[in-house]
């Protein structure tokens, strides 16, 4: 049973990718994507009842897995080297070359290969990630089917490039599942590199100059992360004589200098999660078609970074490294939130907010208490769902209004009532109680409260987050009182994913106390198993749908009760308001009195002038270029401190 599930979760996507790439028929491709998605969803749900378990395979479906991975690793690095040569990029060439040499040295001289099997560990942490990858990821892939048709229609392509696109999209799902399930650091490294390659392929998909440049940048920075990871692996092999992740976590706290490779792993994670000063690749990645942004650059792939930090976190409890990781994460949370304030491009806002939230998760991992770990896990889950929803909404909106600028979305409700409403709900689930993201933030702040520098950065960052979300939600909803709203028709494969994500975001928030007892409590038990010194206790007790502790209480179910009753009455208020007299806006009495020119005032020569409004972007206070410069400098210093502090 385990092997079947593993096969579906890891190998099936690769087979599906081959099918997508080879069969040029659209219907077949769509069917393959939908069926693969459905199977992944089922397999990941079946996995729930099985964790925790360990399993290892010498072969899967008759193929020798471990040696294949080793071979593939070299091929992959060779391919990256080739790409460096193709794009004439010295940095990539050096990084890939160095990795080839180190990997060869590691494989040939430092390891014994008698146990050529591949070990997998499924625990609550990896289960959470598998669920996100398989469910949210599949939903995004399905949404991509109509999206890519439209996309290519806009680009006037004669030969469809969709086979390639979907192949890489589906490959990513398998890669990510393998990445979070493997227990072997070297296999982890391989899948880590493979996600970088996926990212490169998908960012550069449209083939424009900008896309190519940005994809090369992603590859370059990704290779840096790969190098850091590989170096960490070499150190671990040298010091601990093992590359098994569970072993490393167990042995690292008592081994001298083990914090240096830990710090290197953290740096690799920061690169993958696009933390400052590496955030530029993720912003560049926004040129890609929206499904790419949603899948790779918000809800799943970038989670590989925070997953790595969280996975390793029990190995560095109560160390200087942990303190620096918390500082670094909190700093990124604040700094990228500040950068998001000056943006009016919706995808850039989403990108910065992603980086910012990942920073918050990393800060939680660095605080490294059970409550903070619980916060991190909640943030991962709810961020994935809400952010995927928002990205898909922006993609849908962009194809209709042909702009990503939120200033062009004033009164979008009138044109796209369904998508605009879903986007507003998406934003609200990001920032307000009783939804999961806010609960995660609540836990994060409560667990960081005694850490003065971190709590100060979290407090500032969370207020800034509210600013850039609220102003966006506000401008989507303006609409006239009676009529005027044109009904919106969406293709089924657009509508269902959006509604599913929206429903998921709300429903999962309601279920959060149960998610807590089903996922997070066992996970803390696992941490204790791995690191007996930690002696963690479950931070909260759940009763009657409330999460409580001595330090605070979050009454999830009662708040939802208020929400439901409130919504019921709220809808009556809305209905009641239909009977109100419709007023024009106040324009000092100078508004134009004709129906043809709404929101206008009588200007010179009796001509109507339309009122123009724009958000405050505080660009004079926070110019993006200057802030980025300062942020990067500070982040480089912090990262250096982190590595040095590891010693």
């Amino acid at each position: 049973m385990h092997s079947t599930l593993m096969f579906i979760l890891i190998v099936l996507p690769f087979l599906a990718a081959i099918a997508c790439a080879v069969v040029p028929v659209k219907q077949v491709r769509s069917a393959v994507v939908v069926v693969t998605g459905a199977l992944l969803v089922v397999a990941s749900l079946l996995l729930i009842g099985k964790v925790p378990f360990e399993t290892s395979f010498t072969s899967m479906a008759g193929l020798p897995l471990a040696s294949m991975t080793q071979l593939a690793d070299f091929l992959l690095l060779g391919f990256v080297l080739f790409l460096g040569w193709k794009h004439k990029h010295l940095g990539i060439k050096i990084l890939a070359g160095a990795q080839l040499v180190i990997l060869f040295a590691l494989e040939a001289f430092m390891m014994d290969h008698h146990a050529a099997s591949m070990a997998f560990v499924a625990d609550p942490l990896s289960l959470t990630l598998v669920l996100i990858i398989s469910i949210v990821g599949s939903i995004i892939c399905i949404h991509a089917i109509p999206y890519m048709d439209n996309h290519e229609h806009h680009l006037h392509l004669t030969i469809s490039r969709q086979p390639r696109f979907f192949a890489w999209l589906v490959v990513l799902l398998g890669t990510m599942n393998a990445l979070v399930l493997t227990n072997d650091l070297l296999a982890f490294y391989f899948f880590f590199e493979l996600t970088t390659l996926c990212s490169y392929m998908l960012i550069g998909h449209d083939g424009t100059e900008e896309a190519t440049n940005n994809s090369v940048r992603a590859l370059y920075l990704g290779s840096m992360g790969g190098l850091a990871l590989l170096l960490g692996a070499v150190f671990f092999q040298n010091m601990l004589g093992s590359l098994e992740i569970q072993e490393i976590i167990k042995l690292a706290p008592s081994a001298g200098y083990a914090m240096l490779p830990m710090a290197l792993l953290c740096v690799a994670a920061f690169v993958k999660s696009a933390q400052a000063p590496f955030q530029s690749w993720l912003l560049g990645a926004m040129v890609a078609p929206t499904p790419t942004s949603a899948l790779l650059h918000s809800s799943t792939m970038v989670k590989a970074g925070v997953y790595l930090v969280l996975r390793m976190a029990p190995g560095f409890v109560d160390t200087t490294l942990s303190t620096y990781v918390a500082l670094f994460g909190a700093f990124t949370f604040l700094a990228t939130a500040l950068l998001a304030v000056s943006q009016s491009n919706a995808k850039r806002i989403l990108a910065y907010s992603t980086v910012s939230n990942l920073g918050l998760i990393i800060a939680c991992a660095g605080i490294n208490t059970p409550a903070a770990t619980a916060a991190a896990l909640f943030l991962i889950i709810f961020h994935a769902v809400s952010k995927a929803l928002l990205f898909l909404c922006v993609g849908t909106i962009e194809q209709r209004i042909e702009s990503r600028d939120i200033e062009d979305m004033h009164g979008l409700f009138v044109r796209m009532p369904v998508t605009a409403s879903l986007a507003v709900i998406g934003v609200l689930t990001m920032i307000l109680p009783p939804f999961g993201m806010l609960m995660g933030k609540w836990m994060a702040i409560e667990s960081a409260a005694a850490n003065v520098p971190v709590i100060m950065m979290l407090a500032l960052g969370s207020a800034i987050t509210l600013l850039y979300w609220a102003r966006w939600a506000g401008l989507l909803m303006s609409h006239p009182l009676q009529g005027g709203v044109t009904p919106e028709v969406q293709p089924k494969l657009t509508k269902y994913p959006l509604v599913a994500l929206c429903g998921g975001a709300v429903l999962l928030s309601l279920l959060s106390p149960w998610i807590y007892s089903a996922l997070i409590v066992p996970m803390i038990d696992m941490v204790n198993l791995a690191n007996p010194q930690a002696m963690f206790e479950a931070p909260y007790v759940t009763s009657k749908g409330m999460l409580g502790a001595d330090s605070g209480v979050f009454p999830v179910a009662p708040l939802f009760l208020v929400l439901i009753v409130g919504m019921f009455l709220g809808l009556r208020v809305l209905k009641n308001a239909q009977g109100a007299r419709e007023a024009s806006i106040y324009l000092a009495g100078a508004q134009s009195r004709t129906a043809q020119t709404p929101d206008s005032f009588v200007g010179p020569v009796n001509q109507p002038v339309k009122v123009a409004n724009a958000n405050y972007y505080l660009t004079r206070l926070l110019p993006e270029g200057k802030v980025t410069c300062w942020v990067n400098t500070a982040a480089v210093l912090l990262a250096l401190l982190l590595v040095v502090g590891g010693l």
Binding site: R581, A583, S584, Y586, A588, G589, A590, Q591, R593, V602
Partner: protein, 147 residues
Amino acid sequence: MQAILDFIKSSRIKSPWLMHFDCGSCNGCDIETLACLTPVYDVERFGIVNVGNPKHADILIVSGTVNHRNKKVLANLYEQMPHPKVVVAIGACGLSGGVFREAPNVVGGIDKVIPVDAYVPGCPPKPEAIIDGVVLGLQKFAEKSLA
């Protein structure tokens, strides 16, 4: 329920928020109107508050003559006030157009454009007279039921 409705009705006269619109006055009437709000007359004693927005106003105080350019503005402001509402015209110009009533660009008094409930004559009227006009307006305000 009836008690609440009665309270609402009795509150109307205790909380008249007024908006002042200068419809082309020489500013004489405006200065006297604003004088009502100063500590000397202190109309907030009666709950009167000067607001800058027709959507919040119960009483519209208008001074000056209406001309062809600003009659639309006057009508717009009146239309944006929620019912029940009253209008008080201040000064000779507001009542009839005053000395300008024969001018080619002048429409005439306020009541040529919007219905007026109380007239306060004078050039300019004294603050006491304006307060008196507002009080008269308030009585009409109390009588007007929700239209």
